[in-house]
Symmetry: C2
Subunit: 379 residues, 2 copies
Amino acid sequence: MNDVISGSVGQVRPQTFQCSEPLPLKSGAVLPGFSLVYETYGKLNADASNAVLVCHALSGNHHVAGYYDAANREETTGWWDNLVGPGKPLDTNKFFVVGVNNLGGCYGSSGPNTVNPKTSRLYGADFPVVTVEDWVDAQALLANHLGVQCWAAVLGGSLGGMQATQWTLSFPERLRHAIVIASAPKLTAQNIAFNEVARQAILTDPDFHGGHYYEQGVVPARGLKLARMLGHITYLSDDQMAEKFGRSLKDGALKYSYDTDFQIESYLRYQGEKFSGYFDANTYLLTTKALDYFDPAAQAGGSLDAALAQAKADFLVVAFTTDWRFSPERSREIMTALVHNGRRVSYAEIDSVHGHDSFLLDDAQYHAVLRTYFDEVVL
Amino acid sequence: MNDVISGSVGQVRPQTFQCSEPLPLKSGAVLPGFSLVYETYGKLNADASNAVLVCHALSGNHHVAGYYDAANREETTGWWDNLVGPGKPLDTNKFFVVGVNNLGGCYGSSGPNTVNPKTSRLYGADFPVVTVEDWVDAQALLANHLGVQCWAAVLGGSLGGMQATQWTLSFPERLRHAIVIASAPKLTAQNIAFNEVARQAILTDPDFHGGHYYEQGVVPARGLKLARMLGHITYLSDDQMAEKFGRSLKDGALKYSYDTDFQIESYLRYQGEKFSGYFDANTYLLTTKALDYFDPAAQAGGSLDAALAQAKADFLVVAFTTDWRFSPERSREIMTALVHNGRRVSYAEIDSVHGHDSFLLDDAQYHAVLRTYFDEVVL
């Protein structure tokens, strides 16, 4: 009862899709077979017209909504639970919602920390570099498995939005709506530069052992911590950092040492420490490469207009004013190319102080836009 | 002859100022004595009214102009040689120009890589954390040594500009002009955050050994490389990176590995590698702390207006449109506080694509502003 009132999908359990077919990857490598861990919320309707795929970003996973443990609910709640549930903007009374952990992930899907069937050892650095296109190919096989021929919608924020975009290019007939939030048609040199510093932090950590650290009983926690600290700077807006932390001191006075002087240092160290305790460094590396490589225009002579000519879905593109990782300008590039192609596209630029992270938060205006859009999706 | 034509001050040699007086530091620590390495260009006039002090930024030093080795001129030229020399904007035919390596530096002035007289071993991590105020105090003792009671001007870019500002507060009667370029009245939370990631990269490098790495025969090169790579991202503008590197590939095709795919990666790795080969990690740490701590308003109840009320110098404040490390907005804060105090202040906002690094380059408009300003300094 509480769950209904609070709009939670309630207690959930992940499932596993085992695919024994070989999956050819964009790199030329072939995965001999793979597993995808996923969750579903709501019920697939009779003609399978109400399925919505949620794609995750850099550090996300398949656990989108609900919780695993009622006794430990807050800690085990899905990362987009504010959006997905009965009566929520993506309403599970209407839609059958699917969350999936991508290939190369570290939450149970085939990835560096799973067993390589060829060697019976953990893949580690031998797990191939995967791309957004590869992820979408694998997600399409999951869709087959679930009996979903055509998604009502595919959505995601940031890197998740890139997957939604890629769906419209790889399988134009297999989705009716693409919802692309806080995303970009490709990374800039500055975006790649930040990713490269994060990668070098991991790759040069002596505990990385060429990506085969599992066997050494260590993890490159120092490198992963640095990567996450750096990431956090790009997720928050300058203004929000100024407002939330400013130059506030942690302990009231400067210490004249390398101990923590400012609150912002304490916050970043804490975030980095926490992340390096649960996330996998090889997955972090793979995922930043998928980000760097995504560039649909490159395969269409450099023209985003030409690349998106294949798309058949309707689009909702959402950007946030203070997002400097993927600024509204980047979303407008996507919107403009869609307009040039005569596609139906809605564009919302949300006034938010929370920078790139806004896509995860339950800003009223933002959620109202999504609610309205989903309400109008005809099944 | 060639030197006169090219406007070079010619071959130069650093000198050393030994001060045996104890120097009390802002932290409460006391340096029992210290050395400052410096260079001078041009001639001090009879009434010592033509002296100009150039303050360096994070990775700079005393070698501002001229060269050390005629046979190896390009590699041994000073970092602001485009600005300082006979006939150049800061004209050594008119001015006696002084460059100094700050306390805590790694170019010969007392710092972590010099001998601690108390222990007869290298200071390493025992060198005290020094501040902009401490630097200015030490520079004032150098001024005494040189017979300079009042500088015609003190100038610097970035952290150098903070020293110029601090001169007007610590010794308001001892300079007539302060030239504050690409600077800020204090760091924001985001600025501090970037510094903190850089510091953590160094502090967590296993070769750091608590700052006593010299004795171990190693240097924390991995950490210092990461710090410099990250720094470089903030020195360049997003637009300039896009223009210079964009998504250009280093070897024509994606590699599907963690080898270098993009030119920007190659550039950053090269810059990081080079820097970690000559700069000292302890000095990097100290200098980022000096940046973080600089906040004259904090000692005046949080009011920059109140802090700058002590200043008596005339000011030139210069900002660059694409500088996102210290944006023009930050320079305008300084300018506005000076105006509120009725000070004479000129403000120039230079249209440049080169971001924070612009202050080091010889942009025509920028140099014209400096030339005009220095031409009008009455001796």
